[in-house]
Structures are given as C-alpha cells and as structure tokens.
C-alpha cells in the first residue's frame, strides 16, 4: 500500500524513414509533392555549399569565425519545411539552411558573420528572429511567443532550436516547463550533434536520450534520425499539427553530427576519434536524399548537376552583394552604433555620438596633414 509504481505513460520513440543507403520505409514516407521535395533538397544544398564557401572565405580572411553548419541540413530543413511563413522560426546558430529557406538572403548571413549588425535584421514576410549566441536563451523567447499566440488566440506555432550541450542550461529547462504549463504551441528541436565543442553528450547528462527530458515536463518527446530529412519532417509536422490544435509543445531530438570543427577556431581531433567521425560522415544527409529523389523520379542526375551550378552561381552573387554592401557608406558608418539603442535619441548618447564624430574628423585631418600616428594606432588591436 505505501509503495507502488507510478505509471509514466509517455514513451519515447525513435523515428527513421530514409536510411543512409536511401532505403525508404514506404509506410512511414510522407506524402510530399515533387516541388516541395525539390525545394527541400535545393535548400539543403544551398546551405551546404554556402557553409563550404564561407569556410574558404574565413580561411582567406574574408569572413570572421563562424559555427559551421555542414551536417545539420536535414534537422533544419526537415523541420522548417513543416511550418508556414506566418509561423515563427527562432534559430540558434546552426540553422543556416533553414534560415535561407525562410528567406534570409546570403548577403545577410555573410554580413552577420562578418561583423555587421545589418546581418541580424530579419527578412520581410516571415516571423523570424536572428541568430542567438548565448545558448538556450532563445528557447524562453519561443515559449513566450507561444504563450502570446495562446493569449491572442492565433493558430500558429513557434519552432525553435538548440544544441545538445545547451540542454544543460537552466534556460532550457525553464523554457520547456513554461511552454508545457501554458500549453504553448512550441516545437523545440534539438540539433543533437553529440558534442558541445569538445564535451560529449555523455558528460552533459546522465540520461539515455535527450528526448526523454520531455517526459519530466509533461510533453511528448521523440528521437529522430537527424540525417533523415523525411523523418525530421514527419516528426515536426506531427508536433506542429498537435500544437496548432491546442495540444501544447513537443521536444524533437534530431541525432546528427558536425562534419566540421565547432567553429573555424578549434580542432575536433582533440576530442573525436577518426573512426567515429568516419562512421558518421557516412550517414551524411544530402547524399541519401539525392538518391531518394532520383529513385523516385523527382529529379534526374542531370537536373541535380544543374541545380548545383545554379546554387553556386547564387552563392557567388550573394557574396558579391555582401562585399558591395559592406563597403557602402551606410554599413561603414561607425556613428550608427548610437542610433538604435533606444526608441528615442537620448541627450547622453547624442553627446557621445558627437564626440566620436569629432574624433573621426580630427583623425581625417591628421591623416591629410600626414601627421602620422601609426605607432599609436597599432597598439589598440
């Protein structure tokens, strides 16, 4: 009588539809039309190629340090393709493919990683927030957006992302709890690439799966092959439909792997074995999806080649636009740092803006008079 088991009814499922050899489970396969399937692949490809080009730019000093996204395309595209434009997309920083899908231009993405605030301005026509660097903090914003949807009576959903390591932050737990308590229409998608920089998930948590954390907060959780874009789509779509029908939030864990270092500033050989990496590179998300599309007759090999050429041209054009923009007077203007802090101009900031303006003019004059101060300027770097 005093001690008996309590039934915890939630069970955690694992979902895989398209395996690494492009075998598909016909019973689970989503019914997506050819145009949608093609679009999904195109944005996965655009994300991958952009990431690769950005790495080259970074290596040659044309871009700052950035977290690479290669390997994360299926988690990002499989989930983002399950929401509407009017829904909300609240990324972390590995959702490059999904952001492009939502309409973020290439030049914005490049500007952001090149140190221009203009790269954080969301595109028109969608409800997106910019990249979020302090990990897990964005999850609470998503919960709040979902709570607001309920208050306003809107049938929409907020889709948000985080990394496996980020699930150790208090913000993650608070976000899941708030969303669940208030039945907020939120889908929390974990980009489980198994490492937080160097720390493996086994050192982050003592649970079997990340998805099971959903149980503690009273929401459904599912673990998905995160290199399988179809499975990611199906799991997210179910969660989105449930959320819009008033069923509250869901936790979706997409299991994948970083094909790259954490950012362009570290060396994964310190913490990942080559065998492990090789095994996971073999599960890469684009190859199997391309095969699937060909097997299904959605695209031909030739069309895929053409798509690649198109995508590369698009990226080249985007890079060019970003480089032109970054040389424009507007984006080069340092005085803009004072312009957007508050809704109205304050006297205090106005004075600081004037101070910097005068200093810049003074420097310009100094340069003209060849009153060189290279020695002095060199030290502040």
């Amino acid at each position: 009588m005093p001690r008996k088991p309590i039934e915890i009814t939630e069970k955690i499922e694992y979902l895989s539809i398209l395996d690494e050899n492009a075998n598909v489970d016909a019973k689970l396969e989503p019914k997506l039309d050819n145009a949608t399937l093609k679009k999904m692949y195109r944005f996965m490809l655009l994300g991958r190629r952009t990431d690769e080009r950005m790495l080259k730019m970074q290596r040659t000093g044309r871009l700052g340090t950035f977290p690479q996204a290669s390997g994360h395309e299926a988690v990002s595209i499989g989930s983002v393709s399950a929401i509407e434009k009017t829904d909300w997309h609240i990324p972390a920083y590995r959702e490059l493919a999904g952001m492009l899908y939502r309409g973020w231009s290439l030049e914005k993405i490049i500007l952001y990683w090149n140190g221009y605030e203009e790269g954080a301005v969301p595109p028109e026509g969608v409800n997106d927030l910019p990249y979020c660097v302090p990990v897990a903090s964005q999850l609470l914003h998503a919960a709040g957006v979902g709570m607001a949807m309920n208050i306003k009576g809107d049938k929409k959903v907020a889709l948000t992302y985080f990394g496996d390591g980020s699930s150790s932050e208090g913000d993650f737990h608070e976000a899941l709890n708030f969303a669940s308590v208030f039945k907020a229409p939120v889908v929390f998608v974990c980009q489980n690439n198994q490492y937080a920089i160097s720390v493996p998930l086994s050192k982050q948590m003592n649970c079997k799966t990340l998805a099971q954390r959903a149980v503690a907060y009273g929401m459904p959780g599912i673990k998905v092959d995160g290199n399988d874009v179809l499975a990611m789509y199906v799991a997210t779509k179910e969660a989105v439909d449930r959320a819009k029908a008033g069923g509250g939030p869901t936790l979706v864990e997409g299991l994948t792997y970083r094909f790259t270092p954490h950012t362009t500033a570290d060396d994964p050989k310190r913490y990942r074995s080559e065998d492990e990496s090789k095994e996971w590179f073999g599960k890469e998300p684009l190859t199997r999806f391309a095969k699937y599309l060909q097997n299904k007759g959605v695209v031909t090999a030739k069309e895929l080649e053409e798509m690649e050429a198109e995508v590369d041209a698009e990226i080249r054009a985007g890079i060019e636009r970003s480089e032109t923009l970054s040389k424009s007077e507007e984006l080069m203007n340092p005085l803009a740092m004072f312009d957007y802090l508050y809704g109205e101009e304050t006297e205090h900031l106005k004075a600081q803006k004037e101070e910097l303006k005068q200093y810049l003019e003074h420097k310009k004059k100094g340069k003209k008079q060849q009153n060189h101060t290279a020695h002095a300027a060199g030290s502040a770097k």
């Binding site: 990683w113 090149n114 208090g170 913000d171 160097s198 720390v199 740092m337 600081q352 100094g366 002095a376």
Partner: protein, 329 residues
C-alpha cells in the same frame, strides 16, 4: 636572485594554474571544455593530463551550474578555479555570485567562506562575434562582497591569479583576451603574488596621471610613450590591477603630485570604473586638481559587431588627445 622566463600571458596564466594545482591539493579547475580541449583559448593546457579528471573538470554547459557548484565545493573546503568561456556568459551565473558567493561570509558572521575564482576572458579586439567582446567589470565590481581584478600582462596575470586562488573570498579574475598572445614578458621563476587591492605606479611623471587597467593599460602605455617622445611632457602611469577593492590612495597621491588625471578603460562610461575613480579623487584630492578629469572609455552602447569594434575601443590617439587637452587646460 632567482631567474625569470619570458612568456606570453596565456602561458603565464597556464603556469599559475599548474603551480596552484601542484602546491595545493584543494585546488580544482572546472569549466566548459577545460579538459582535453584545454580551453577554447588553450589556457588549461596540460592540466587534465597531469592532474586527472577529478581535479580538472569538464562541466556541463551551464554557467549558473558551474558557479553554484563551485560555491558548494568552496564551502566544503576546496578552492575551485572556474573558467567561464567568455565573460559575456557569466551573466547566467550572476545570481549565484551576487546572492551567494558575495554573501556567505557576511551572512554567517565570518564562519562560512567561499574561496573561489571565476576566471574569464573579456574585452574586444579579436574580431569575435557578438556576445564575445564586452567589458562588464563595473557590473561585478558593483557587487559588495566580490573582489574583481584584471591583469595587464603576463607577470601581473600570473601573480594576481595566485593571489586570487589563495584569497579566502570570491574573486572575479578578468583576462583581457586580446593580450593573451600579444607580447611576452619576463616572469619570475619563483611564485609571486600581487596584493589584491593595490595599484602599481608603473612609470613616474610630473605633469599628468594616467590610470588604466587590462588591455586598455597597453593602449595607455603606448600613448604615454609616444607623447613623451614627441612632446615635452612627463606622465605618471598607474596600472589599477585591482578594480575592487580599489586603491584610490595610490591614485590620489599621484594626483596630488601631478594635479591632472586621465582615466582609460574599455568598458562603457556610464557608472563605469572611471566614474568611481573620479569620485574618489574628488573626495580625497579635489584641491590638488588643476584641470577637469578626462575619461577615455567605451561608449554607452553594446560593443558593435567586429567590423566597427575599433571605433568603440579606446585607442592610443584618443588617449593622447585627452592627455594633451588635460595638460594644456
């Protein structure tokens, strides 16, 4: 006399950690990626290999968790030396530090102490992305019960870190990340400590006192050297080193001699460290002042993304201008 070795600041901090782990079995090092990755700036190089995973701990990704458990460990008798990957993320740990690390001693009338160190890279100048470049030392210095120090090079880093680890109170140890590998300096073979709460007069002078700390100290030094070469001026330069407690006595003594003061720091101006220095000079040496005090600081905006960070940061020209205006006043 014992010898010295030349090294950069990253190496000097690493050396202090090795020495501290070696000499005191209660010292533990913990933080995100401090183990086999050896820290994102390689400050914890060789530690886990030598002292093992029990004392060099890769923690889960949670700053409140790191500092909160460090408080527990320190109460139990350990001396945790925690790394917050970037000072910007210490915000997550603010509550633990403000509500607990800063208060246990006071609340328990001296019985319970929290001898811990929160090390963290800070400041701009390395083209990092957003949330990786702020200088919020004033925020931490505003908390009664916390000590806040910031070295300006290899020697002061190694000495101050030893002082911080040996201190029985919680110390926030700022590491100006742009200095990690900027230059080398002679560091004594013997362990030395710098007293927390003491500034250093690095160079004596007659016409003006310049006070700075951290990365800005190097900028100020540069400006002072250039000015003394190019102009007929003599400037006294003070490295604050300890932000809280603050050694205003050394500053006031200098101002009594020079009659003029310029303060340089990278953090925002509003309620910043310079404001506190100036207030204390007003309280203690007002009648010695012969010119209004100037401050060269970051502006009261978030650090701009890196394409424009150089406009935000104090540079040697800005400092030189302020110095000459003050001298000529």
């Amino acid at each position: 006399m014992a010898g010295t070795k030349e090294m950069n600041m990253a190496k000097a901090i690493n050396l202090a950690l090795h020495e501290a782990l070696e000499r005191d079995e209660n010292v533990v090092v913990m933080g995100e990626d401090v183990g086999y990755d050896e820290g994102v700036f390689r400050i914890t190089e060789g530690l886990v290999q030598k002292y093992g995973e029990k004392r060099v701990i890769d923690t889960p990704l949670a700053e409140a968790g790191i500092m909160g458990t460090a408080i527990g460990m320190s109460i139990y008798g350990l001396r945790p030396v925690c790394e917050i990957q970037f000072s910007d993320f210490a915000n997550y740990a603010f509550n633990q530090m403000e509500s607990h690390a800063a208060r246990f001693r006071n609340r328990t009338r001296g019985q319970i102490k929290t001898p811990l160190v929160m090390r963290m890279p800070s400041g701009g100048g390395i083209r990092a992305l957003e949330h990786h470049s702020e200088s919020r030392e004033a925020t931490w210095a505003h908390v009664p019960g916390l000590k806040v120090v910031m070295p300006s090079g290899p020697r002061s880093a190694r000495a101050l870190l030893h002082s911080a680890i040996q201190d029985d109170d919680a110390v926030v140890f700022y590491e100006p990340k742009s200095l990690y590998r900027l230059f080398k300096e002679e560091v004594p073979d013997e362990i030395e400590t710098f007293p927390i709460g003491k500034a250093q007069v690095v160079k004596e002078g007659k016409d003006l006192t310049v006070v700075s700390f951290g990365a800005s100290f190097r900028v100020a030094l540069d400006a002072v050297e250039t000015l003394e070469e190019d102009q007929d001026v003599s400037i006294e330069l003070i490295d604050l080193l300890s932000i809280s407690p603050m050694d205003h006595a050394t500053i006031c003594k200098s101002v009594e001699k020079t009659g003029r003061l310029v303060v340089v720091h990278e953090g925002p101006r509003n309620l910043g460290i310079a404001a506190e220095i100036i207030a204390r000079v007003n309280e203690n040496a007002f009648l010695s002042l012969e010119a209004p005090v100037k401050r060269v600081t970051g502006y009261d905006v978030p650090m701009p993304y890196f394409s424009k960070e150089q406009f935000f940061l104090p540079d040697a020209d800005k400092v030189a201008l302020a110095c000459m205006e003050t001298i000529k006043f």
